[in-house]
C-alpha cells in the first residue's frame, strides 16, 4: 500500500501528463521560433583524445524552440582576443521532448554512426538560429529544467554557445548553414584542370579474370619530351568467397552443393571438410535397435572381440543386416579357430532358397539366402547330445536348418572372431547375445568395445559410438571463367563412417587492377605493355591513359600559359597574415640554404 494519499494521483496520471505536454508543445509552437537542429555525425572517433576531428553535420531538422534567454545573448559577447575577434554569445533554448523525438529519429541522433543514437539532444550538436543566421553548439542539455511536472519531464533546455568552427564538414543542403564551411574553412582545394591535349585511349581483353591483352584505339597527342603517360585500369569487382553445403547420408558424404558459388577463385582452390567420424568399425548408416550398429568391414582381421573359454553348451544370438548392393555376400560371421575344422556361419547369396546347416569340410555352417536390406535375427544353439554336440540354426526364432550332431566343434564359443564378407561390401551386426557371463574371460581386441559386469548381451550399440575428429582437404575444385565454383569432387574419407561434417571454402583471393606502361612514339601512344594482369575481372576493364602534362594548363593565344594545372587554393582567413609573412620576407631573408629536413628544391 503506497504511503501517499490514495485519493490524489499527482504524478502517475498519464492523461494529465499528456495534457501538460500538449500545452507546452502548443506554447512553444506559438511563442517559439523554428530553428534547425544538426546532430553531429561521428566519422572517426579518436579513442585516445576522446574527440572526432572528422565529425560532420550532414542533416538538419527544422524544429520549433522557445527562446528562454529573453534579455539577449549571454556570454562575453564580442571582444578582441590574442587570436583576433571572438564572439562568445550564448543562450538557452527550450525544446519539447516529444517534439524532438517526433522530428529526429533515434537513429539520427548523435553519435549517428552507431546502430542507434542516444535519442535526445546531445552536447556537441548544432542549432541554427535563424534570427541572426548563426550557428550555436549545444554545450549542455538540461532535462530537468521543469522539475517533474505531473511526474514527467516535458522539455530539454539547450545551453548554446556560438560555434567554434574547426573545419568540421557541414553539408546539410541548406545554403545558409553550409556557407559556414565554404566561408570559414582554410582547407586546401585542389583545382585540377582538364587536359587541353587529347589523351590516348585503349581497350583491354580479359581471359579468365586476367587482362591478357590491350589494344590502343587512339594515340592521343603527347608533346612534352620524355613524358610517359600513366595508364590506369578500372578496378575489378570484389571477389566473393563461396558458401558450400555438405550433405551426409548413411555415414558418407553424399553431395557438396553451393548456396553461393563465389567469384574470383583461381586454380588450385582448396576446400576443407572437418567433422567427426565413428571410429573404424562402428556404423551409423544402419541400425537395428539404437542409432548405431557395428559394421563388419571387408578385412579378415576385423576382430570384434575374442573369448578364451571352452563352452560346450549354450547359444548366442545376433542380428545381421546385408545391404542389397552386396550381391555376393559370402563371409564368415563367427568362427571357431582353435581346432580344425572350424565351425563357420557363412552368409551366402546362393540359388538355394532355404537355410541349411551342414558340416562342411572346413566346418561351415551355412545360412543361405539372408534377406537383403533387412535385419535378420539368427540364433545358433549348441547343446550336448549324449556326449556329442548338436548345433542348430534359428532365424527369427524358427529353426531354419537341420541340426547337426558331431564331435566337432567341442568349443564353439572358444573364440568368436568377426570375419565378415571377405568378398565384397559390408554387413552390419547388432545386439550380439551370449547366454553366459563372459566378463572375466573376454579379451577385447577392439578397444572401442567395452562392457562391464555380467554380460549377457554383449553388444547393444545403442549409445553414441566413439568418434574421432577428422579433417580432409578437397583440392579437386573446378571453377569457371569468372572464378566461380563449378563443383567439388567428394574426397575420400578414410576410417569410420561420418557422423557430421562441415565444409569451408578457402577465401577467394582479393581482386586487384591490372597495370601497364605506355610507349610513346612520334607524339602518340602506340603500345601498352601489361606489367601486371590484375585479377578478378569479369568484364573488360576501362583503361584511362593520362593526358600530356602540358595539357593541364590554360594556354593563351600567344602560347603563354595562364594557369598551371593542379593549383592549390585555400580560403584566406580575414585575420591571417600567412600571405604577408610569405611575401614580405622574400626581400630580406636568405633562403639559399635549405633547412635540414628539406627534400629536393623545397626549402
Amino acid at each position: 500500500m503506497p504511503s501517499t494519499n490514495l485519493y490524489f494521483n499527482n504524478f502517475e496520471f498519464s492523461q494529465e501528463q499528456n495534457l501538460i505536454e500538449d500545452l507546452i508543445i502548443e506554447s512553444i509552437k506559438i511563442y517559439g521560433i523554428e530553428c534547425y537542429y544538426l546532430p553531429r555525425t561521428l566519422v572517426r572517433e579518436d579513442e585516445l583524445f576522446g574527440e572526432d576531428a572528422l565529425a560532420k553535420f550532414d542533416i538538419a531538422f527544422p524544429i520549433e524552440m522557445y527562446i528562454k534567454s529573453i534579455d539577449g545573448f549571454q556570454g562575453d559577447g564580442d571582444f578582441l582576443s590574442k587570436f583576433g575577434l571572438e564572439i562568445r554569445d550564448s543562450m538557452v533554448l527550450t525544446i519539447a521532448q516529444r517534439r524532438f523525438e517526433d522530428e529526429v529519429h533515434i537513429t539520427e541522433t548523435t553519435p549517428f554512426n552507431e546502430a542507434e543514437g542516444i535519442g535526445r539532444p546531445s552536447e556537441g550538436d548544432l542549432v541554427y538560429f535563424p534570427l541572426n543566421g548563426k550557428i550555436f553548439e549545444v554545450k549542455f542539455v538540461e532535462h530537468e529544467a521543469i522539475f517533474y511536472q505531473m511526474g514527467k519531464l516535458q522539455t530539454y533546455d539547450l545551453t548554446l554557445e556560438l560555434f567554434e568552427y574547426s573545419h568540421e564538414s557541414i553539408d546539410t543542403g541548406i545554403a545558409e548553414i553550409d556557407a559556414i564551411e565554404t566561408e570559414h574553412s582554410t582547407e586546401f582545394i585542389f583545382i585540377a584542370l582538364e587536359g587541353a591535349l587529347p589523351f590516348a585511349t585503349a581497350v583491354a581483353t580479359v581471359t579468365g579474370q586476367f587482362v591478357t591483352s590491350t589494344s590502343v584505339t587512339f594515340g592521343g597527342l603527347y608533346e612534352t619530351a620524355e613524358f610517359v603517360p600513366r595508364v590506369t585500369f578500372s578496378d575489378p569487382p570484389p571477389s566473393i568467397t563461396a558458401v558450400p553445403e555438405i550433405s551426409i547420408v548413411n555415414g558418407s558424404i553424399s553431395s557438396i552443393t553451393f548456396s553461393n558459388v563465389g567469384r574470383g577463385y583461381v586454380t588450385p582452390t582448396l576446400a576443407t571438410i572437418e567433422g567427426r567420424q565413428a571410429i573404424d568399425g562402428w556404423a551409423v548408416s544402419e541400425s537395428k535397435f539404437g542409432d548405431y550398429s557395428y559394421k563388419l568391414g571387408a578385412k579378415e582381421t576385423d576382430t570384434l572381440f575374442t573369448r578364451h573359454e571352452d563352452v560346450s553348451e549354450g547359444y548366442f544370438n545376433f542380428h545381421l543386416y546385408v545391404p542389397s548392393g552386396n550381391n555376393t555376400v559370402y563371409g564368415k560371421v563367427f568362427t571357431v579357430e582353435d581346432t580344425e575344422p572350424d565351425w563357420i556361419i557363412n552368409v551366402a547369396n546362393t540359388a538355394n532358397s532355404t537355410y541349411s546347416l551342414e558340416l562342411q569340410s572346413d566346418g561351415t555352417l551355412y545360412a543361405n539366402n539372408v534377406a537383403k536390406d533387412a535385419w535378420n535375427f539368427f540364433s545358433v544353439k549348441v547343446e550336448d547330445d549324449s556326449g556329442n554336440q548338436r548345433i542348430t540354426l534359428f532365424k527369427d526364432a524358427t529353426q531354419v536348418a537341420t541340426s547337426i550332431t558331431g564331435t566337432q566343434p567341442s568349443n564353439l564359443f572358444k573364440r568368436i572372431v568377426n570375419v565378415n564378407n571377405t568378398r565384397s561390401g559390408n554387413v552390419y551386426i547388432d545386439h550380439l547375445f551370449i547366454d553366459t557371463d563372459l566378463s572375466s574371460v573376454l579379451s577385447y581386441t577392439n578397444t572401442a568395445v567395452s562392457n562391464s559386469g555380467t554380460i549377457t548381451t554383449l553388444l547393444t550399440f545403442e549409445n553414441s559410438p566413439p568418434t574421432d575428429p577428422f579433417t580432409v582437404f578437397a583440392n579437386n575444385v573446378t571453377i569457371d571463367a569468372n572464378g566461380s565454383i563449378n563443383a567439388i569432387a567428394i574426397p575420400v574419407v578414410s576410417g569410420g563412417e561420418i557422423i557430421s561434417a562441415n565444409i569451408t571454402m578457402q577465401d577467394a583471393p582479393t581482386s586487384f587492377p591490372a597495370q601497364a606502361t605506355a610507349t610513346v612514339t612520334n607524339n602518340e601512344v602506340v603500345l601498352l605493355t601489361i606489367t601486371n594482369q590484375g585479377q578478378g575481372y569479369v568484364d573488360a576493364p576501362t583503361i584511362t591513359i593520362q593526358s600530356d602534362s602540358a595539357g593541364g594548363r590554360i594556354k593563351l593565344e600567344d602560347n603563354v600559359y595562364l594557369i598551371d594545372s593542379g593549383i592549390r587554393y585555400a580560403n584566406t582567413d580575414p585575420q591571417a597574415n600567412n600571405t604577408l609573412f610569405e611575401n614580405d620576407t622574400t626581400s630580406f631573408i636568405d633562403f639559399s640554404e635549405f633547412n635540414p629536413f628539406s627534400e629536393g628544391d623545397r626549402w
Partner: protein, 271 residues
C-alpha cells in the same frame, strides 16, 4: 634623435621573420584508411591589432556565423632587453657604397637585443594540437637560425637565432559542461637580434699625404712627403704608378684600382 632620423624596420623584420617560420603549417586529417581527408592551412596572425580594424575585417556585416575559426596561431612581441653577452666593439663600422661613387655609407656595429615573442596556438581538437606541435618542435634545437638582411643600405646578412625557451599547455577540459573548453599551447621564443644605428654618408678619401719634419717646431721645413693615391689605368687595370693613372677624381670607389705610393725627399732642396 641626436640629430639623426633613421628607421631600418629591424624590429618589424624580426616579427615578419618570426611569422614566416610558422606561416605554412598544414594540419592533415586522415580517414580510417589513413588517407588524407582534409588539409588545413593553419592561419597565423600577429595578435596585437587595432580593434576596429579587426572587427571590420572579420565581421563587417555583423553576421559572422561562428565564434572563432580553429585551429589558429597568434604571436606577439612581449619584451625587448639588452644582451650584454653579445656586445661588439662600439667603434667598429660597417661600410658600403653610398648613393654616388664618391660617397660611402657607414654604420657603427649594432646593439644586441633579445626580443621575446610568445606564440599561442589555439585548437579545438587535441589531435590538431599535437600534429601542429610536432611540426614546430623538431626545428628548434633549441634555436633556429635565419639569415636576414637587416639594413638594406648596408646589405649585410646576419644570422639571427630564434630560441624556443618554454612551452606550456592550457586545456581547461575539467570544468562544467557550460564552461568553454580551450586548448592553447603557448611557446615562448627569444630572437637574438640586433638594433642598428643611423647610416651616415661620407665622402671617399682619395689621397693621403704624410709630411715628415725632422724637428719641431712645426714651422720646420718638411724633409719627406709620402703620398698615397688610387692608381687606375685608362683601360681599367690597376697600377701603382701614379703618373700613369687617370685622375683620382674619376676613379670610383667601386673600381679595381691599385695603390700608388709616391715618396718625395727634400733633403737636397726645399719644399
Amino acid at each position: 634623435m641626436f640629430g639623426h632620423q633613421f628607421y631600418h624596420e629591424s624590429i618589424r623584420r624580426y616579427i615578419i621573420m618570426f611569422g614566416n617560420m610558422f606561416n605554412d603549417i598544414d594540419i592533415i586529417r586522415y580517414n580510417d584508411n589513413k588517407e588524407i581527408s582534409r588539409v588545413i592551412r593553419v592561419p597565423i596572425t600577429y595578435g596585437p591589432r587595432d580593434k576596429f580594424l579587426s572587427r571590420i575585417d572579420t565581421d563587417p556585416d555583423l553576421d559572422r556565423q561562428i565564434a572563432i575559426q580553429l585551429p589558429r596561431l597568434a604571436f606577439e612581441m612581449t619584451n625587448i632587453s639588452y644582451d650584454s653577452t653579445r656586445a661588439l666593439n662600439k667603434l667598429t663600422r660597417n661600410i658600403n657604397l653610398g648613393e654616388s661613387d664618391d660617397k660611402l655609407r657607414g654604420q657603427y656595429t649594432p646593439v644586441p637585443y633579445n626580443i621575446d615573442i610568445t606564440l599561442n596556438a589555439m585548437f579545438r581538437y587535441n589531435e590538431d594540437a599535437v600534429q601542429c606541435m610536432e611540426q614546430i618542435l623538431p626545428f628548434f634545437r633549441p634555436e633556429w637560425t635565419n639569415s636576414i638582411k637587416l639594413v638594406d643600405s648596408i646589405g649585410d646578412y646576419y644570422d639571427i637565432p630564434t630560441t624556443l625557451n618554454t612551452i606550456s599547455i592550457e586545456d581547461n577540459y575539467d570544468s562544467g559542461f557550460e564552461d568553454r573548453r580551450t586548448i592553447i599551447h603557448r611557446m615562448d621564443f627569444t630572437i637574438k637580434g640586433y638594433i642598428f644605428g643611423p647610416v651616415t654618408n661620407k665622402g671617399v678619401i682619395t689621397r693621403t699625404i704624410v709630411n715628415y719634419k725632422s724637428n719641431t717646431p712645426a714651422t720646420t721645413a718638411t724633409s719627406e712627403r709620402d703620398t698615397l693615391v688610387p692608381g687606375l689605368l685608362a683601360n681599367g687595370q690597376p697600377t701603382t704608378d701614379s703618373s700613369l693613372s687617370i685622375s683620382r677624381d674619376t676613379i670610383s670607389a667601386n673600381s679595381d684600382y691599385g695603390f700608388a705610393f709616391d715618396k718625395e725627399n727634400f733633403f737636397t732642396g726645399t719644399e
